[in-house]
Chain length 401, copies 2
């Protein structure tokens, strides 16, 4: 979306916007011929659909399955092809690390190196989380770098994150992970001619050398591989672009982190989906935009469990009347991408989108992929959702006379 147009036209008002994201909402027909959303017994979503604009949103590009990062950036109105968030940054956000603007993050894999220096296992025998956590502590204590500080945070099993703090770093770096066993780790190299990239590459290589020294006797985790280098991305903030006091309600660190990148205030959520809706109610008067993230739909989709995904949708459905009672001026219900149970993974398919406000053109009486396909919004870029919400909440001035 044209953020400068939003900056130009947006006005601060008291009307409330809610963006309710059911992660991985989109699906495909399962046995029986219905998608997870179509099969869900969701009377409140259906009756809301009968008063709403419907469409299918496309997160990134035709045929392209988005990760959670680009999926959410698009929902927040940022071009996911322009604003890239590296794997390292997402991992750092995912472990709750509060990245600063000068921070460079990278994903760490503990790995096994044989006597000849070649990688024999890229995951160090899927080392136990407890063992890996000890090695992370060791690295944090022992590794020393000239002119930079490095923080290592454990994720799970063989996975961890490194965050480098220093002035003038760059994320334009190649991975050290050779992606195959039987090869030596690659030196980290700058991918641009930039001086900052060259110095950052030296820093990363120095870090790897230090880690090799510290881990020398920790077989099978006797080395590390780095990949997904990236700087904290400089996203335009919600208050600056949309003039919104924005809050995020999410149970998982990565989504909280993404919301924080956009300048949202992360609220303490209660237990489960009901707890998230309770948090919304408690904070209703203090903000004028709420992003609520529901993870259970995506988790069930990834597990290939269509019934459990439908059940998660039904749980949200039961809570919907309470949300509507708060009186949002504009409410969008959608996903950051599709996760069809049939595919057990994120996919490129259009994501069902519903927008409820006083100013809609309803076209169907149920909320499903196929009613959305014939809706008044058609198939559209997810990046446009924020503009639609701003318009429906009457927070945009007219463009031109």
């Amino acid at each position: 979306m044209d953020l400068s147009l939003m900056r130009e036209l947006s006005v601060s008002t008291n009307s409330k916007i809610v963006l309710l994201v059911l992660d991985g909402l989109g699906g495909l027909p399962n046995e029986g011929g219905e998608t997870e959303l179509e099969a869900a017994n969701s009377p409140h979503l259906d009756s809301l659909a009968a008063k709403s604009d419907l469409g299918l949103s496309r997160p990134v590009a035709a045929g392209v399955s988005p990760g959670s990062g680009p999926g959410h950036l698009a929902l927040f109105g940022y071009d996911p092809l322009e604003y890239r968030v590296g794997r390292g940054v997402l991992s750092a956000l995912g472990v709750g690390f509060e990245l600063g603007e000068n921070d460079l993050a990278a994903r760490i894999n503990f790995a096994t190196k044989d006597e000849s220096g070649k990688i024999s296992d890229r995951r160090a025998g899927r080392i136990a989380s407890s063992d890996a956590a000890k090695l992370v502590n060791l690295l944090n204590e022992e590794v020393e770098l000239d002119g930079a500080k490095v923080s290592i945070v454990h994720e799970k099993e063989h996975r961890a994150v490194a965050v480098f703090h220093a002035g003038g770093l760059s994320g334009d770096l190649s991975d050290s992970d050779p992606q195959r066993t039987g090869l030596e780790p690659l030196p980290v190299e700058p991918t641009t001619a930039d001086g900052a990239a060259r110095e950052s590459a030296s820093l990363a290589n120095a870090f790897i050398k230090e880690a090799n020294r510290v881990l020398e006797d920790s077989h099978p985790a006797n080395t590390i591989l780095l990949r997904g280098f990236g700087m904290h991305p400089a996203l335009p903030r919600f208050d600056e672009v949309y003039k919104l006091r924005a809050a995020a309600i999410a149970g998982y660190p990565m989504y909280k982190g993404l919301a924080r990148l956009a300048g949202m205030q992360v609220l303490k959520e209660g237990e489960g989906i009901a707890g998230e809706f309770e948090t919304l109610k408690e904070n209703w008067d203090s903000y004028d935009f709420f992003f609520i993230h529901v993870k259970a739909t995506d988790a069930a989709g990834e597990d290939g469990d269509a019934r459990r995904k439908s059940a998660a949708i039904e749980e949200v459905d039961a809570l919907l009347p309470g949300l509507l009672d708060l009186g949002p001026a504009a409410l969008a219900i959608t996903g950051d991408h599709a996760t069809p149970a049939k595919m057990k993974s994120h996919s490129w398919h259009g994501v069902p989108f519903l927008l409820f406000s006083e100013y809609t053109l309803p076209t169907a009486s149920s909320f499903g992929e196929r009613t959305c396909a014939g809706g008044s919004l058609g198939v559209f870029a997810a990046e446009e959702i924020m503009g639609l919400l701003m318009g429906h909440a009457l927070k945009l001035n007219r463009y031109g006379a």
Copy 2:
């Protein structure tokens, strides 16, 4: 739209294109559940829809309500975010002023200044039009500027337009209107580092000083406020881009002015909608593109009068057979934006679009927002309409071999 592609592919033929714009055509469901277009008794539009391509067009961007300027620029194929027409220029066009390419226009408000120099009324007590017209004459007679000529034309009540003629002017200027009472008028300032902007700011400030001198004893209209500075925009011309001999039929000066900016010949229209259609018939052989503008739909929408808006559509409907008898190769019927009676204002919603030619893929048997939502054109940018019309009229060469 990619105008250079149009330039490359367009060919001049004798086939006729008609772009019939029902201003503010788009609507929302009113009591009874139908939009103004859906509720209209319009048998000819419906039977034409059954032979046409349908879609919903979006004038500017998701959620963004366009003014008449950007709405029409998009219909004419110009990117409304690239080609901006300032409020002053639209006002000048609206009063029928034939702007030249070196002209700088600005909107004038007569206002009241108290003894301390602060603005006490931004509209001079909504001074009567007849009184304001006298002050406009006074300004035209008395104001003298070094190296520039200024023409002032009255609009209505406290509103007028100033057009500055000189070489090397720029519209990159800030308003003098402080937008609130109790404040002093602001000096006009250049908004770019451009020398032309600096000189234009000096000229505008000199004009304000002169106007203050002339209006000294004209309380409550003892000062003026300037806003919406803009130069005559250099739009690519229809004959050059599309190789069309283009004519415009419109009852209101602003739409005539917009058409003239695009290089269309403005025809003398007859009385009312029927008169416009009569003009079309009389000039049929002399042009190969006709833009016809019907204002009544928008005016009724702005008044919140759904029934009157439907009646205006019905009036057009009754005239449609006469238009079809002329045998246009391609006929589009649409609006420049939505003006739902329910909102009493322009809105961001999709605009019903119908394209009739020999080469269509009909999908419905009536013309309405919801049949258009499911049409073969889907939801698309209004900027693409000229390309569609050119294609359907067989005025575009194949692209590539």
